[in-house]
């Protein structure tokens, strides 16, 4: 009966809105989605963070342009012996070290310190500095972002899709099916996320994953080389299954006893029809919210895995590997891990804020537990 009372929603704002919307008539014939959309449209914070996320995605998609027109270095182009012109002066991309003979005594000259952020001083090169092999951090950041986002979104999508199917099966059929699927969830759940992720990531990255069978000459299965991004994606997708599957199963279980499902059964609808046309639309908003949450978490998990060397394989850049690679050069080249870290924080924050707004608009009670420790 009472509204949630979360918003500071005074009489004035309500009157304004009502006028704006043309009163209650305006909502006639609008789907729950449209109404959620209307709520979302009013949430300027969420929308602006969605804008931030879109901006990040667009920037990352433009990475090849950046590489060819601005930095003139590809994502994996090393340039360790190179020299760039900064303010007309030639500067080594990597400071040169070694032993020099000084007064007949060998003396160590420390080197290997990559050039720092140039902010345009080097004519578009090394805007954010170089890494220890002279690669352009800016370029790698954009390409790394592509990989990180791709991993996050794809892993979340796969995980969500699998979980939805499992949750529907478990919740709808109950009994033995539910028992088996729930135990499967329990089992993955019983593993510490990071540990399972790393174990799988490490194991698969050595020689890849090559399992499947041939059917009439067509290969059905997975054939992934050890350095494939898909390994990271599948690992992350796998470990998150119970985190989405469990809450969804609960929802399906609750929905399953709703009268409209009984009504469909009474009309003679089959299980598949009920699962996909009656139940699925009703968990769809939770799925959407969980999906955004899982994207954020998948991106963070990628960082954890890559940091521990079980994620994206070098030399492919990803924000996680970049942080890991830069971790022991913080004092001479802090940008190496600082920039990707900031990029992740902004991206994940944007997803989280937008996800929050989405949840407020759709208002399912989505709760999810994930560790990254």
């Amino acid at each position: 009966m009472a509204t949630t009372g979360q918003e500071e929603f005074t009489l004035d704002t309500a009157a304004e809105l009502a006028a704006e919307e043309g009163g209650a008539k305006a909502i006639q014939g609008k789907s729950p989605w449209a109404i959620a959309g209307r709520r979302l449209r009013r949430n300027y914070v969420a929308l602006s963070f969605l804008g931030v996320f879109v901006l990040v995605v667009v920037c990352c998609l433009l990475a090849p342009l950046y590489a060819s027109h601005v930095s003139h270095l590809g994502e994996n182009d090393t340039n360790s012996g190179g020299v760039v012109t900064v303010h007309g002066q030639p500067v080594h991309v990597i400071s040169q070290g070694g032993t020099k003979i000084v007064n007949g005594q060998p003396k160590i000259v420390f080197g290997g310190i990559p050039i720092g952020p140039q902010w345009g001083a080097a004519g578009g090169q090394y805007i954010l500095g170089a890494d220890e092999l002279g690669r352009d951090i800016g370029t790698r950041l954009l390409f790394g972002g592509r990989n990180s986002l791709f991993i996050g979104v794809t892993a979340a999508a796969i995980s969500t899709a699998l979980s939805v199917i499992l949750a529907l099966l478990a919740g709808y059929f109950g009994g033995l099916v539910d028992w088996v699927i729930s135990r499967f969830f329990d089992l993955i759940w019983a593993f510490p996320v990071v540990l399972l992720g790393i174990a799988l990531g490490t194991a698969l990255s050595v020689n890849g994953f090559h399992h499947g069978f041939h059917l009439f000459g067509v290969f059905i299965g997975l054939n992934l080389s050890g350095s494939s991004l898909w390994i990271t994606i599948l690992v992350i997708a796998f470990v998150f299954i119970p985190y989405i599957g469990r809450p969804l199963r609960g929802q399906v279980l609750a929905l399953r006893n709703r009268e409209f499902v009984e009504a469909a059964t009474a009309q003679g609808a089959g299980s598949v029809r009920i699962m996909f046309t009656e139940l699925l639309p009703n968990i769809a908003s939770s799925v959407l919210v969980l999906f955004t949450l899982i994207i954020a978490n998948a991106i963070l998990t990628e960082v954890g895995l890559s940091f521990l060397g079980a994620g994206v394989r070098l030399p492919n850049p990803s924000w996680g590997t970049m942080i890991g690679e830069g971790s022991d050069k913080l004092s001479t080249a802090p940008g190496l891990s600082l920039f990707p870290g900031i990029a992740i924080a902004i991206t994940v924050l944007a997803i989280n804020v937008f996800g929050d707004g989405l949840r407020d608009a759709l208002d399912p009670r989505a709760k999810i537990r994930i560790e990254h420790g």
Partner: protein, 342 residues
């Protein structure tokens, strides 16, 4: 004349929602005296609960606005601060809600919850409070109250929970007991028990009762005075006999006629009130019942005031129709086809 406990003058309550402003209650007035039962009837959404909760100060919030007066023994409760309102709640005004399943905190024992209510207003130790709780439970008819006091709400049946709610509401001897549809969720047999209990306890505790329901049958049993609400307004108000035997508002006729009654022969067709209650955001002009009223005429485009239009004092209605016209036409609505069937 008995002590006047409560006087509500032109109370208006509005809520801001995202769909617009809800005029939940628009100008409701009544008085209540000790020992009396005021029945409020009306359809779902007519503002019964909002009225009741506003009396208790439970509708306050950033999205609510109030107008009018709620004078309790002379104090305007709308002006009382939230903190001071705590003294009135439970102590002066007790309340029972519709759904006994959710109105009790599931994680505390029944006894604890009643003891808490007692201790909120009186400086008594646990033991005394508990003894009183057991006594209260006995009074509301819970068997073995000394063991039942330690049960959790889910171990009680619906009827017993509602009894426990009543015990809780009465624990501090409030002058007014507000019962918001206390029987709606219960079976007829249990409903009868609860109605009987409330009217008995009203006398035992010497309090006044505001009894909200949408069931005219229940109210015929218990109320002294009746308010009929429609679209946030009082459309008819009068003594029980006035409202049942001399209803002035076509809406009241409709209500009476829509009930398939056991005390009358089965009609071919039930009377119906066509259409559905108006949205409280976009109220129609004039008489709010006009769109559904079979007798509406030109004058109804202006809203009638709540006035005494009949000879009986204290019987008010909001209808432009001529009293004589009403008296001659209402029976076909109220008794429906029964006349022809007989």
């Amino acid at each position: 004349m008995a002590e006047r406990l409560l006087e509500v003058n032109d109370l208006k309550v509005r809520f801001a929602t995202e769909d617009g402003i809800v005029q939940a209650v628009s100008g409701i007035s009544f008085e209540l005296e000790r020992g009396k039962v005021l029945g409020i009837v009306g359809e779902s959404g007519s503002g019964k609960s909002v009225t009741a909760m506003t009396l208790m100060g439970l509708t306050r919030g950033v999205n609510a606005a109030f107008e009018g007066e709620v004078l309790y023994k002379g104090t305007d409760l709308l002006e009382v601060s939230d903190r001071d309102m705590q003294e009135y709640r439970g102590n002066e005004l007790g309340m029972i809600f519709q759904d006994p399943m959710t109105s009790l905190n599931p994680v505390y024992r029944i006894g604890e919850q009643i003891v808490e209510a007692i201790q909120a207003h009186e400086r008594v130790d646990k033991r005394t409070a508990r003894a009183r709780t057991i006594e209260l439970l006995r009074q509301v008819g819970i068997p073995n109250p000394d063991t039942r006091v330690d049960n959790f709400p889910h171990e009680f049946s619906g009827g017993m929970r509602q009894r426990a709610m009543i015990a809780m509401a009465l624990s501090c001897n409030p002058s007014i007991l507000i019962a918001d549809e206390p029987t709606t969720a219960l079976d007829v047999t249990i409903q009868a028990q609860i109605v009987e209990l409330v009217s008995r306890l009203k006398d035992d505790f010497n309090s006044a009762v505001i009894f909200i329901t949408h069931d005219l049958g229940v109210i015929a049993d218990i109320a002294d005075e009746i308010i009929v609400m429609y679209a946030g307004r009082v459309v008819e108000r009068g003594s029980k006999r006035d409202v049942f035997y001399d209803p002035q508002m076509p809406y009241t006729w409709g209500l009476l006629g829509s009930i398939p009654r056991l005390d009358r022969p089965r009609p071919e067709r039930l009377h119906t009130i066509e259409g559905s209650p108006p949205s409280l955001i976009n109220l129609p002009d004039g008489c709010k019942f006009r769109p559904r009223c079979p007798h509406a005429f030109e004058k109804c485009k202006a809203e009638p005031g709540l006035e005494n239009r009949v000879e009986t004092p204290g019987h008010f209605d909001r209808c432009w129709l001529d009293v004589e016209f009403k008296r001659s036409h209402r029976d076909e609505t109220i008794s429906g086809g029964s006349a022809e069937a007989a």
